[in-house]
Every structure is written in C-alpha cells, then in structure tokens.
Symmetry: C2
Subunit: 199 residues, 2 copies
Amino acid sequence: MPARTPLDADIILAATEEILRRHGPDKATVVDVARALGVSHAAVYKHFASKQALREAVTRRWLDRTRDTLAVIAADRAVPPAQRLRAWLHAVLAGKQAKIREAPELFAAYGILAAAHSTVATDHVADLLGQLTAIIADGAADGGFRTGDAEATARAVFHATVRFHHLAHAGEWQNPGIDTDLDDVCSLLLEGLQAPASP
Amino acid sequence: MPARTPLDADIILAATEEILRRHGPDKATVVDVARALGVSHAAVYKHFASKQALREAVTRRWLDRTRDTLAVIAADRAVPPAQRLRAWLHAVLAGKQAKIREAPELFAAYGILAAAHSTVATDHVADLLGQLTAIIADGAADGGFRTGDAEATARAVFHATVRFHHLAHAGEWQNPGIDTDLDDVCSLLLEGLQAPASP
DNA sequence: CTGGTTACAAATATCAAGTTCTGTAACTTG
DNA sequence: CAAGTTACAGAACTTGATATTTGTAACCAG
C-alpha cells in the first residue's frame, strides 16, 4: 500500500534525528527509522545510499545550524575584532556544551562520524576556520591585529584553542574553571595578535 | 622450591614492561608476568596490591624517565627563556612521537591509565607544568616575559599547546605539518608573552 | 518510472557456555 | 617470619550458535 505519507529526505532526516535522540547512535537502526515512519527499511534506502550516508546527513544538518549561529557573531562589525574573537570562541564552547546537555546522543553520533574520517567533520572545521579567518582579517584591517597571513593565523588560533572545541576534550567542558581557562588563553593570544612589534 | 631468584619489585617491573611491550596492554596478564619469571601469579601479588598498581608502577617509571630528560632542557640557563620554551615544547612532542614509534604498546597502556583517572597521569602533568612554570619564571626575571603569575601563565601555555602533547591528539602527530603547526602556535604565544605593553 | 513492496545473502550483534584471569586465603618450607 | 606455594570464588574474557541488521535485487501499483 503506497501513498500513506509522501516520504522525502527531510521527513526521514527528522525521524532519524528523533530515533538517534531516543536510542543513541549505537542502538539506532535503519529498521527503527523505517518502523517509526510506517514503511519498510528498503524504502529509506531509496533516499539514502547507506546508513552511513543517513547519519552524515543528519549530522550535517545539525552542524549547519551551529555554523549559522556562529556566523552571526563572526560577521558582526559592530563589535571590535579583539572582543569579537573572544566572544566567538566562547560561543563555540557554549554551543557544544549546550549540545551535550540537550542531545548527548546526537553529540555521540557526531563523535562516531568524526572518528570514521567522514568529510562532515572536516567540512565543519573548514567552515569554522573560515569564520575565524574573517574575524582576524577584520582585525588586520582595522582592529590593530598585526598579522601577515590571516588564514595561517586563524589556523594557529584554532590549534591553540583545541581544548575548547575538539570533541576529545568534551569531558573537560564540565569543569567549572573551563571558561576562565579559555579567557586566559584568549588573553595570551590577543596579546600576541595585538603586539605593536616583534622583538 | 623457593629461592631460585630473589624476586623484588624491580625485577617484576622489568618483566612486566617486557610482557606489556610484547603482548600489549589488553592481552598482558599477571599470569603472563609470573610465568615469565618462573613463579606463580600469587607471588607477584606479594609485591603489588593489584594489577592496576603494577601497571601504574610500570608507567610511572616510564614517564619519570621522560620527565628527567625534559628537566634538563627546562633548567638550561644557557638558553634564553623564549628559545628554551620553544625547544621544550618541541621536545615534549618529539618525546611522545618517539615513544609511539618505539613502544606503541606501552604508550597504549598509558592511555588506558589516563582514561581510568589514575594519579599517574595527573602527576605527570603536574611535573610538566612545574617545568613550564620554571621556564616562564626565568623569562619573567630576565628574558623579557611580561607576566604577573608564572604558574597561571604556564597553565595557559599548556592549554594552548594541548594539541601537541595530549594523548587524544596522538593521531595528528603523524601529520607532516605538525612541527610547523607547533612553531606557529609557539610564535603567537611568545609574541603575547613578550609584548611590551597591553592595550 | 517514482515510490514503494517482499525476499534474501552477507556482515554484525547478542547471548549463554565454558574458560581464563584476578585477587584472597590458608598452607609450606628454609 | 619471609618468600613462596596451591586452592578457590567471583569477575572478566573467549567462543560459537543464533538472531538482527544492512544492503541488494527482483517485483508491483499508480
């Protein structure tokens, strides 16, 4: 019996996200997703080539929402670049803390994906690096940042703040001192970026 | 039949390290260690309270050797603090790369220990932080570092270089660009430390 | 021919059995 | 009694039979 509901990619993604949220990434099967939609599991394979592809699509959608939120902060010319950099880095951390709190299962799914070397993870990092580069380029233009290559500098800042955004350190984000720690690293980096001249 | 060999803690530790090296941390049992020494496994328990304690003792010995090597670099007053800081951070990375290359099984054992929240890991970090603090204190005294609290600054530097010493990032230490990456972060941090005045 | 179905092979996961390992205790010997 | 032994209970690991899941193919309705 066909034509119960139309069943397109979006509906499948929403259902998958729900199943993932409920069952967690290890126990969520595509049979579960199909059952939730009232179709056979082969039907979802008409829309997604593999379980891996389905997982990636869900995670990508989820990460893109984060990216868009952060983009607003990164592009806000009203805030001076130094302050904006600090705010952006704190927002990255706060966003991930919120994700863990609200959807630990989805967060775990992202971890599995990252470990599997999916492009979803590297693409997301590239997006964030782009935003960081924009902030630093702004700072070089009018905020007193002394930097030749904004992209290389962005990479260095990203590497120096790995503890505050890389999944491997998610456990430390619960520490009460984590925001102070980030502030301290920010201060050190901003000092370096804003230094009038190098010896 | 007693009194074949004396059997003290050191002999057991050496045998354990050998077994660990050969079998890896998951497959190495205390029965294996005892067999290698030609005694019953209960004999080992006369010297170490538990398998966990035995593993910790082996790892602690191993890490202490690293600590001592790095201490030489940290304490070398002949090298100016800025350069010494850079050299020390590179030595930390190089040391871990060498460990992975030469004794991946022992390295894995350390990872298991760290995950189990053993004090061995936190003690080692404390040791390294102490060395870093000493370098920065030297820099504050005579190397042109502008820092109020050497210990807090050391912590910030340690956090900012997490990618280059935390086990979670061991996979990235194979990347060809890793040394350049560390250099770039070092430069940024040193710029911050040496900045003549903050805005 | 789009959007679904059922049916099936291969890869994976689960579970209950037997086995090995950890840790303790009671025992032996110089 | 120091330095070991054997013996044993419970926890943790194999192992292999069974069940689920993934992914594909051949088939059907509008």
